[in-house]
């Protein structure tokens, strides 16, 4: 393998990192949000992200399609598709960020730099083939997130959310790290390829035990990021406390990255884990879906409800990790694409509706929204229907593909449970729809006037909606795209 190709493969990340550093260096010279220069930052960030995307596809042509197992970072097509998704999410967020930040009076150039750095960490996570680089990626991601969460210093709820996430995240990092140590102890290496090779030859019982424990703790570390039960406890509080736009980012991008890492680690490199881990993942999946859906039923706070919903969705997705056939990564990608777009859309709209300080996010606040803002109501409904998995939305395509793949693997029972869970979820996803369309405008207190939609938001939400519909109505393009990823495996 030619080194130049390797660096070439990292071109998007290099771009993003350089851009981030540039912004960080730029900000001290700007005088707050009023400065013309700081107004340029969002556009600059978007430009960098788009440039990264272009770079991504440019280098893709020259890259081998199979994973380069001997490298710590593989720029194969699998990581390529996930990096594309991550860039997309970041771009959508950066589109909507400025009006949001200005409304909350926390506009700072560093936000954009953080976004780019976090992308860096996530990209690393998606292509990493070495436990150490995985850890670094995870930590870059985490630390960035801690800062994002704490960005709104004056808001006590946001502070609490940040603290909870920080503390629990650190614990999970500790677990992850301990897991790495154990694996390292058992095999003497942190490279996936080495681990894989060594595992086959091991007959040492102690080492195997150590290895298994290590793998379990690594799983815990990643599962925490995905908010899988029983590592979900942070999710609801953090989603509720953090500003909606941050949550929109937060509930999507890190999950994409963590899922990619899980996929690469457990599906590509440790297929033999399938049996016992698959079983266990089954339990975790069932627990996540069920707990997420049930706890969401009686939530009054829409953000909190969506937090539980995302726990449930992580439960569905985890099925894909343990699918032992060639469709696993396609399935995961399609599901994540749909999931992130609909979650982004829903949270962005909530962010618009909830007003400054995210105060109006209860179901009651949505009552009669269709009268006031039919367009927003329709879009929010679209995202919610997609989350439910109603056909002609991306959510359906994703679930369809996922259930199909899982059935192909013989997971009939799990699929039936998942399907029943979907039916339950329909109940709470429809509640906002009920409020928006079927309840009258509340008389008192009169609802906060929703300001006109800033252009950035409109573009961001439009992108998400378009993606959802595209994936729902004409999924061929995306399936084909995702199936190219598939080749990476075989």
């Amino acid at each position: 393998m030619n080194d130049s190709i390797l660096y070439w493969a990292l071109l998007p990340e290099i771009l993003a990192g350089a851009g981030g550093i540039f912004i960080v260096l730029l900000t001290p010279f700007l005088r707050g949000s009023r400065d013309r220069g700081s107004r340029l930052i969002p556009g600059l960030t978007l430009l960098i992200l788009l440039g990264a995307m272009v770079a991504l596809f440019t280098v893709a042509r020259d890259l081998p399609q199979s994973p380069m197992k001997e490298l710590s970072f593989s720029g194969d097509t699998f990581s390529l598709s996930f990096r594309f998704l991550l860039l997309l999410i970041c771009a959508v967020i950066s589109l909507a960020a400025r009006p949001f930040l200005e409304r909350e009076e926390i506009f700072r150039g560093e936000f954009y730099a953080l976004l780019l750095f976090i992308y860096l960490g996530m990209a690393l996570l998606s292509g990493s083939q070495d436990l150490l680089s995985t850890f670094v990626g995870l930590e870059v991601l985490s630390i960035g997130c801690y800062i994002l969460l704490g960005l709104k210093r004056s808001d006590l709820r946001a502070n609490e959310a940040a603290w909870k996430y920080f503390l629990l995240g650190s614990i999970s990092s500790a677990f992850f790290l301990y897991g790495i140590a154990m694996v390292f102890g058992a095999t003497g290496s942190t490279r996936y390829a080495d681990l894989f090779a060594l595992m086959g030859s091991h007959s040492d019982k102690q080492a195997t035990l150590l290895l298994n424990c290590g793998l379990a703790l690594i799983f815990v570390g990643l599962a925490f990021k995905l908010a899988l039960v029983p590592f979900h406890s942070w999710a609801a509080d953090v989603y509720e406390g953090a500003p909606s736009l941050i949550v929109a980012f937060f509930s999507t991008a890190p999950k994409v990255a963590a899922m990619a890492a899980l996929m690469r680690f457990f599906n590509f490199h440790f297929p033999r884990m399938h049996y016992s881990a698959g079983h266990f993942a089954g339990w975790i999946a069932v627990a996540s879906m069920t707990l997420g859906n049930l706890a969401a039923i009686s939530q009054q706070n829409v953000k909190r409800m969506l937090a539980y919903s995302s726990i449930a969705h992580a439960g569905y997705m985890i099925l894909a990790i343990f699918i032992d056939n060639e469709t696993a990564d396609t399935t995961l990608f399609i599901y994540l694409l749909a999931y992130s777009m609909m979650n982004l859309g829903a949270f962005l709209i909530l962010s618009l509706l909830s007003g400054k300080g995210d105060l109006c996010v209860s179901l009651h606040d949505l009552s009669g929204l269709a009268e006031r803002r039919p367009g927003l109501a329709a879009l929010l409904s679209l995202f919610l229907l997609s989350l439910t998995g109603i056909p002609l939305t991306g959510g359906f395509t994703a679930k369809f593909y996922l259930f199909g793949s899982a059935l192909k693997n013989g997971l009939v029972g799990l699929v039936i449970i998942a399907v029943l869970n979907s039916a339950v979820s329909a109940y709470y996803y429809l509640r906002p729809v009920v409020h928006m369309y079927m309840k009258p405008l509340p008389e008192s207190p009169s609802p906060a006037e929703v300001p006109p939609v800033p252009i950035g938001f409109a573009l961001a939400i439009g992108t998400a909606a378009l993606a959802i519909l595209w994936l729902g109505i004409l999924p061929s393009f995306w399936l084909e795209f995702a199936e190219k990823v598939n080749l990476a495996l075989k």
């Binding site: 801690y146 959310a161 140590a181």
Partner: protein, 99 residues
């Protein structure tokens, strides 16, 4: 003479457990933060133990330390913000959200 690896590991596990138990018992934010640091360092200790005689293990330890330091920076900043807003360091004062 080398200390058998198992001792290191035992100590590391003990520290890790201590950290987690401390987290469960202590209400002070700073103490909680220190417990987390303890857990991270326990893991680090395990690395050191495993990397006996291997260079790359030691390198990892340094990387981890760097990362932990970054985390500590953010964490302490958060503690400061929390204290400023609430004038308290009791973690039970920060239960606005639940259910």
């Amino acid at each position: 003479m080398t200390v058998p690896i198992i001792y290191y590991l035992g100590l590391s596990a003990l520290l890790f457990a201590l950290g987690s138990v401390g987290l469960l018992l202590k209400r002070n934010l700073l103490v909680q933060f220190m417990c987390v640091e303890l857990m991270l360092n326990a893991a680090n200790l395990a690395f050191v133990a495993f990397s006996q005689g291997r260079a790359d293990g030691s390198v990892i330890v340094f990387i981890v330390m760097a990362v932990a330091a970054a985390e500590a920076g953010v964490g302490l900043a958060l503690v400061v913000v929390l204290f400023r807003n609430r004038n308290s360091l009791d973690s039970e004062d920060f239960r606005l959200m639940k259910g």
